[in-house]
């Protein structure tokens, strides 16, 4: 395959034009270009750093009044962060400010005549004493002057603010390079900063903003790609900057690099029947670790294709940053695509045409180098694969006694023992529900027993990210049934919100046992997450538990399961974990419903606080939440939630006074007043059988539609019936009726009083001064 650079040296860069029109009569605008040149920034930090630079610059300039236009364009490569503002005012607008002088008592005599202090203060600011006025301050009354402050030139202001903008950028991990860590004033940054460029204006009018930071002074000089030499490149403005850098092998715009990379790869593969195994994460990593990407294809020995696809892809992606290549039906091919951080041709072919003739095409040498490295990597993997097979997984079970899980929680052998107890408990529930047979249970337990054995293999010790997957592949090779090896393969799933869940129910049970054990044992050992710290990764495990309960085991009641688990002999450091774990899983369920499923926050609150069902069956909570979202904004339903709130408030107020207990008291029909009260009672009773039926089928939307049908009776009741009747027996009976409605209608499947409907919000608050002053 042939290759050539796809990024073009721009003849003309299109960009937002800087305007020179006066903004307020005095100020004109000028473009500002800022570049921080540094040693290679880690790819994983680059995107955020680029955004943060733009944000900091915008905030700093807004604070000084220099920002004429909010547009801030930012760019980045591993060796530079760049910000370009097409329009910055060339001087600050003038403004008025108050200057506080001496205390009022000291400024004026007993008859209001100005003292010498007042005169001196006025004179100092070139004002007349008559211009003084009094102000109230926390320290008492003082005299003050209004003063017009002339705006300062942008250059002067930028000199002051730019150092803070560049030195204040925060990174997840930063370093010292000038003085040591013990030197207090030494700057910290993600990597050493080597040059600063700051230009105000364009072309002949461009002025360097010679601010100082990191022991450097900003100039108009930048540097090209490393291979373009070390001489500084002087620029006169953004256009010039982009064009010269492009000639020097640098495309500053990550999105341009991404587009060029895609085009390049497409062109390389166009003539073949091959395509990339798509990998967005890898693509971004490459975009953020190159100044000028050029794709290059390479080959590897077909004998390595005997290794599983997962292993080949992991070696290529995680260790070498190569794209894997497959044919049109998705079969991996003995090719790869690597991306270089350089041109494969000279930067300026016109100027360097002679040297180009002398320099041989570097691609064959570079390709050969990459192929050689990959061969050694694959040879290692092949060795591990063969060596690991000599001890089958089943013979590795005792080896887990030597692998520590956590110092407080024993070895992986201990963890597997606990997982087996949990899995048995979960399977029992599923057997009772009829969704599993005892044969299935045996397969689940087999998978549990083998699932951690791959931790003792060379392959997982070398490629830790393949834990589980490797175990599954070995189990398959060693003749385990499909359901067993797949359950092992899948048992770390889901790892994140985007990740898939295990393929089978058995896999779901194994995965759930694993994550649930992590949570339960972690809590019992006092490793629960606090604030932003979660060293044991329990939130992630908890999120996994909830997702499995929704997607893999939708009938599962987590609370009942926890209570059952608490009776098992898990040999944990402490047994007081049940309340904390259930609180934690409830919180994770709420996170899932809102953050992952996208329900509104009051929907989530309503769903988990219902009287009959709460968070404990996350799948059911999700079903109720979804149904509620569909119906909650309908007119009748909004009315129903208003009534729910009203009922809730009445019951809350009267609960003490009338000693109304939560226990249900039967309603005495004889005490119900004819008309609205009786109508409501009978209407509800007529509805009940159909309601039960819909609810039992999980048809919550239908159930709520039925309830919404009660609206006329509910409205009429509240319009016409006085709950707090003078006769205590009637009042009590009426409160009982409301209490029943509250439990069985307003809060049964969702606490409707939690719903914040639009009609309840005040239309407009009486805050305007004009109306209150009138």
């Amino acid at each position: 395959m042939h290759q050539s650079p796809n990024l073009k040296v721009p003849n003309q860069v299109t960009q937002p034009e800087a305007t020179r029109t006066p903004a307020d009569g005095k100020s004109q605008t000028a473009p500002l270009l800022l570049e921080i040149g540094c040693e290679e920034i880690p790819a994983r930090f680059l995107t955020e750093a680029q955004t943060a630079l733009g944000q900091r610059l915008r905030d700093a300039l807004a604070g000084t009044g220099l920002l004429a236009d909010a547009a801030v364009h930012t760019y980045s490569t591993p060796r530079r962060l760049v910000a370009y503002l097409p329009q910055v005012l060339d001087r600050q607008p003038d403004r008025e400010e108050s200057v506080v002088g001496p205390a009022a008592k000291a400024a004026f005599g007993p008859h209001g005549e100005p003292t010498r202090a007042a005169e001196a203060f006025a004179a100092k600011h070139g004002a007349a004493v008559t211009e003084l006025f009094e102000v109230e301050t926390p320290k008492g009354r003082y005299v003050a002057l209004r003063r017009r402050v002339a705006g300062r030139p942008a250059l002067e202001v930028l000199l002051e603010v730019l150092p803070g903008v560049v030195t204040g950028l925060q990174f997840p991990k930063s370093m010292y390079w000038l003085a040591g860590r013990s030197g207090e004033s030494a700057p910290r940054w993600v990597r050493p900063v080597r040059w600063l460029l700051a230009l105000l204006g364009e072309g002949d009018e461009a002025q360097v903003v010679p601010f100082e930071a990191f022991g450097l002074q900003a100039s108009n000089a930048t540097h090209g790609h490393r291979s373009a030499g070390r001489d500084p490149i002087r620029v006169t403005g953004f256009l010039d900057y982009r064009e010269k850098l492009a000639r020097a092998g640098v495309e500053i715009d990550p999105e341009q690099r991404r587009a060029a990379l895609r085009q390049d790869i497409e062109r390389l593969l166009a003539s073949s029947q091959l395509r990339l195994v798509p990998d967005a994460g890898l693509e971004t990593w490459i975009v953020n670790s190159t100044e000028w990407p050029s794709a290059l294809t390479g080959r590897f020995d077909e004998r390595f294709l005997k290794l599983p696809r997962e292993i080949l892809i992991t070696v290529m992606r995680d260790h070498q940053h190569y794209f894997a290549v497959e044919d049109r039906v998705g079969v991996l091919q003995p090719h790869f695509v690597t991306v270089l951080n350089r041109h494969l041709r000279k930067f300026d072919s016109a100027r360097n045409s002679k040297s180009e003739c002398r320099t041989p095409d570097p691609a064959p040498v570079i390709r050969q180098g990459h192929e050689r490295v990959l061969r050694a990597r694959f040879a290692d993997a092949e060795f591990f694969w063969q060596a690991d097979q000599r001890i089958p997984l089943r013979d590795r079970v005792p080896m887990l006694e030597r692998v520590t899980y956590h110092e407080k929680l024993g070895t992986y052998a201990d963890k597997v023992r606990r997982m087996a107890l949990l899995a048995r408990q979960i399977c029992r529930t599923l057997e009772e529900q009829g969704s599993m047979t005892d044969q299935d249970t045996l397969r689940v337990l087999r998978a549990v027993q083998l699932c951690k054995c791959d931790l003792t293999t060379h392959m997982v010790q070398e490629f830790t990210e393949l834990q589980g997957v490797v175990g599954g592949l070995y189990a398959k090779e060693q003749g385990e049934p499909e359901v067993v090896w797949q359950a092992i393969y899948d048992h770390y799933l889901p790892q994140g919100t985007e990740d898939r869940c295990p393929r089978s129910l058995a896999g779901g049970v194994v995965a759930l046992s694993d994550k649930l054990d992590s949570v339960v044992s972690g809590f019992s050992a006092g490793l629960e997450p606090t604030g932003s710290s979660d060293p044991f990764g329990l939130r992630r495990a908890g999120n996994g538990v909830v997702r499995l309960a929704v997607e893999s085991l939708p009938g599962l009641d987590l609370l009942k399961l926890l209570q059952a688990i608490a009776t098992l002999n898990l040999e944990l450091p402490a047994s007081d974990w049940v309340t904390r774990v259930s609180g934690f899983l409830r919180e994770r369920t709420e996170f899932y419903l809102q953050g992952v499923a996208g329900l509104r926050y009051d929907t989530v609150r309503a769903v988990v606080q219902a009287t009959e069902r709460g968070w404990e069956r996350p799948a059911d909570a999700l079903a109720r939440g979804r149904a509620l979202e569909r119906i909650r904004d309908t007119e009748d339903f909004v009315a129903l939630s208003v009534a729910a709130k009203r009922t809730h408030n009445i019951l809350k107020k009267s609960a003490k006074a009338d000693d109304l207990t939560a226990a249900m008291e039967p309603i005495n029909e004889d005490l119900l007043a004819p008309g609205p009260e009786k109508d409501l009672y009978h209407a509800y009773n007529r509805l009940r059988p159909r309601l039960e039926e819909e609810a039992s089928r999980g048809e919550y939307e239908a159930a709520w539609r039925l309830l919404a049908g009660l609206r006329p009776q509910v409205d009429s009741f509240f319009d016409n019936v006085l709950v707090m009747d003078g006769d205590p027996r009637v009042r009590r009976n009426r409160l009982n009726l409301l209490s029943k409605l509250s439990r069985e209608v307003f809060r049964r499947f969702a606490d409707l009083s939690q719903i914040e409907s639009m009609t309840l919000a005040p239309v407009s608050a009486p805050t305007s001064e004009a109306s209150s002053g009138g």
Partner: protein, 304 residues
């Protein structure tokens, strides 16, 4: 990638000459077993304190767990590092480093060179730094680190450490598939000189080593180090001469323990919890040495 590529020994000579020209002291390889060039006193001690220093040396390094009985073409129990310390580093350190590759015969214009994030850490030395692994056409050839902490101490002056994996780089340049095929000089190969040794070292570390004997040696060396450190404590309290303390000997004992630990580890004789505890014991010695060394370098006001 060809027959005109440097031999192993010429590569060492060229690189040594290059760094000597940059003002580095050419130090000798340390005469004890070490797992990395960083562990030599010329790195561990010299990066401490404020004094500027530049040094380069070749250091054979032993990593028992990497032994393959001479059967793996890329993995060695004992490999050779070129270690360079620049304290403080020059501003153009990356460019100087790239020139050193040219001294090895790497024509930069013909390759793809990358600096990929890789932060180095040595729990046994209480040391860590920020930096990259340098990749040459996808091959990791150098660890490039800005030291941030050493011996558990924040550093007064940042050093750059460059660690070249010589076998890898030269195998790449000579275009050989196995390190044992490297031309050491014009007539002898790397295998001629080292294959037998690799096999023997692997046999000892994986099979023949007596874990109990290794443990006893560990305890003995550690006890001797503790005894010296305790005497230093009482000497300091009595206000006697702190410059007479044999701190490099204590550090040697610490290095002995570190190597014994590596053998026990390769032997599979250490459980994971024990591993953490043993590393902490070695680190304790290293950190004590670092504190005494810095105390000596600094004005008397600094507590030792």
């Amino acid at each position: 990638m060809s027959s005109d590529a440097l031999t192993f020994q010429d590569a060492i000579l060229n690189l040594s000459k290059f760094w000597a020209d940059q003002g580095c002291v050419l130090a000798l390889p340390y005469d004890l077993e070490v797992g990395a060039g960083t562990m030599c006193p010329e790195t561990f001690l010299r990066v401490l304190g404020p004094d500027p220093y530049r040094v380069a040396y070749v250091q054979p390094c032993r990593r028992p767990a990497d032994g393959r009985y001479g059967e793996n073409p890329n993995r060695l129990l004992k490999h050779t590092q070129m270690q360079v310390i620049l304290k403080p580093p020059p501003e153009d350190i990356q460019d100087v480093y790239l020139q050193s590759l040219e001294a090895l015969g790497v024509r930069l214009a013909e390759h793809d060179i990358r600096f990929e994030e890789d932060n180095w850490e040595s729990p046994t030395l209480g040391a860590w730094g920020i930096g990259w692994q340098v990749m040459l056409d996808g091959l990791e050839i150098t660890q490039f680190t800005y030291f941030q902490q050493c011996g558990g101490l924040d550093l007064d002056s940042v050093s750059v450490e460059l660690t070249y994996g010589l076998e890898r780089i030269i195998a790449f340049l000579q275009g050989v598939e196995s390190v044992y095929d490297l031309r050491w000089n014009d007539s002898l190969s790397y295998g001629d000189l080292r294959l037998e040794e690799e096999r023997e070292l692997s046999i000892y570390d994986f099979e023949a080593a007596d874990p109990e004997a290794c443990r006893r040696l560990f305890e003995t060396y550690e006890a001797e180090a503790s005894r010296l450190l305790d005497s230093q404590g009482s000497a300091a309290a009595a206000g006697t001469l702190r410059n007479r303390f044999p701190l490099r000997k204590v550090y040697d004992l610490c290095l002995k323990c570190s190597h014994l630990f590596n053998i026990l580890d390769a032997r599979g004789a250490i459980s994971v919890t024990e591993r953490v505890a043993l590393i902490a014991r070695i680190r304790k010695m290293a950190c004590a040495v670092a504190r005494i060394y810095v105390g000596r370098k600094m004005p008397a006001t600094v507590a030792v």
